[in-house]
């Protein structure tokens, strides 16, 4: 006879969940989530999109930046339920290894990353800036990225990368004749 037998915990009260449908990188995703689940955790653990990083947990660092209906937000400071019916773009939605987005290409070419931890957030904040201001000044780039912290302090090359991405994107739209 076993000396002890593990007894399953008493079923506690059912945990209330809400069904959310979110467009993530253009794909419709549906999930049942607890209201207290943060958007960053849904993306990383629920949807396995681990390109969204969590750095500070106090809304300072910007590593968890994603685009919410096209605008950068800190996904550690939003509840997943709040994204119901909205569009989220993560770094995975910018481009993959085989086909980089011009912003990603520029970060690669201009050495815009060292450890890479802040890079997804930096690139999404940069993309949002370039969507609104296609030809920003260096000052505008610095202010637009001022909510994102680089722990390697590699800011010079990050700014260079964004300015280079602006040129790439402008060249592209000129070539498209748009």
């Amino acid at each position: 006879m076993a000396l002890f037998e593990e007894i399953a915990a008493e079923p506690s009260e059912p945990v209330p969940v809400r069904r959310v449908t979110i467009s993530v990188n253009g794909e419709r995703r549906t999930a049942d989530v607890e209201p207290r689940l943060l958007l960053a955790h849904l993306l990383r653990q629920g949807l396995r999109l681990t390109g969204t990083h969590i750095g500070c947990d106090t809304t300072n660092c910007g590593a968890c930046t994603v685009l919410f209906d096209g605008k950068p937000v800190k996904s550690c400071t939003m509840l997943a339920v709040q994204a119901d019916g909205h569009e989220i773009t993560t770094v995975e939605g910018l481009g993959g290894a085989s086909e980089l987005h011009p912003v990603q290409e520029a970060f690669k070419d201009e050495h815009g990353l060292q450890c890479g931890f802040c890079t997804p957030g930096m690139m999404l904040a940069a993309k949002a800036l370039l969507d609104e201001v296609p030809d920003p000044t260096e000052d505008e780039v610095r202010w637009a990225l001022s909510g994102n912290v680089c722990r390697c302090t590699g800011y010079q090359n990050i700014v260079k990368s964004v300015l280079s991405a602006a040129q790439k994107l402008q060249g592209q739209s000129a070539a498209d004749g748009s």
Binding site: V15, P16, R18, E34, P35, R36, L38, H41, D57, T58, T59, N60, G62, T65, F68, K71, P72, V73, K74, C76, T77, M78, L79, V81, Q82, A125, W143, A144, S146, G147, N148
Partner: protein, 291 residues
């Protein structure tokens, strides 16, 4: 970090939201931009039983001017909307100066002015700005709406005058009697940090005389500081160097700073003096040129 468990409702009308707060019996919190509340619940400084998310309420994202010049800011107007506002750039220089200095650009996409007033952080920018402008907050509860002057609305550090079943639906800046001028200056160690010190200055001028003035201070006391005495010396006089120095002295004296890692109390008082003097001198130069 995970918040403790709470219930979540996203109502579609203010009445429905008020009903939820009433049923919440003091254990419910309103969620608007969430840029202060979500960190608080993650760090478990706050553990509300119910979050009433008002982001789906229609018709609250506005900021606009009435025909008489009164400016109204709805509960879902984000800092970023005010930062890019042509209306404020044109008509309300103190607010226009403050908007790009709130938190950081990503936080500004979500956070709201009205939420910042409700949060009542002594380091919050908008409470100082609205105090300098003599504004008020419109609250809606089960019995209808009431208007609360900002000095009564923010009634302590992280405290406001709302009843548990009231929602702050709008901030109101009264119509100016003269030409509005002013500014907002603050020092922070880096973008998004709490202010070392900040000063909001709002004056109205007629000809070269000041007809109304308000000065309020950020981050130099247990609550937003209304430096009314400093503002009062400006009224009825032209903005000359002497009266500006007098107002800056009084504002620095009204500050109640504490020495901490951001600077000594003496340094913070010096900042307040410098900011008030700088803003008023700039306004004075402009008024002189116009007169």
């Amino acid at each position: 970090m995970y918040p403790s468990r709470f219930r979540y409702e996203a109502p579609h009308s203010i009445e429905e939201a008020v009903g939820l707060l009433q049923a919440g019996d003091g254990e419910a919190k309103v969620l608007a931009g969430g840029q202060s509340l979500v960190p608080l619940i993650k760090l478990r400084f706050a553990s509300p039983e119910l979050l009433v998310d008002i982001n789906d309420l229609p018709g609250l994202a506005y900021h606009r001017a009435d025909p008489d010049g009164t400016i109204r800011v709805g509960a879902l107007c984000r800092h970023a909307d005010l930062e890019g506002s042509a209306l404020l750039a044109d008509r309300q220089p103190t607010m226009a100066a403050a908007a790009p200095m709130v938190a950081d650009p990503i936080v500004r996409n979500r956070g709201t002015l009205v939420g910042s007033l409700c949060h009542a952080d002594p380091q919050g920018d908008w409470a100082a700005v609205v105090t300098a402008l003599g504004g008020h907050v419109v609250a809606q509860g089960p019995g209808g709406r009431r208007t609360i002057p900002i000095g009564k609305f923010v009634n302590g550090p992280f405290q406001n005058a709302l009843a548990y079943d009231e929602i702050a639906v709008e901030a109101v800046i009264p119509a100016p009697g003269g030409t509005p001028a002013g500014g907002y200056l603050k020092l922070e160690r880096r973008v998004g940090d709490f202010a070392t010190a900040g000063a909001a200055v709002a004056v109205e001028t007629s000809g070269d005389l000041v007809t109304r003035a308000g000065i309020a201070l950020t981050g130099v006391g247990g609550s937003t500081i209304d430096a009314a005495e400093a503002a009062q010396v400006l009224v009825g006089r032209p903005l000359g160097a002497e009266v500006i120095a007098e107002a800056a002295d009084l504002a620095a004296r009204a500050a109640q700073p504490k020495s901490d890692h951001r600077g000594s109390a003496k340094y913070k008082r010096h900042l307040v003096h410098t900011f008030v003097e700088r803003i008023l001198t700039r306004v004075g130069d402009t008024t002189e040129r116009a007169a």
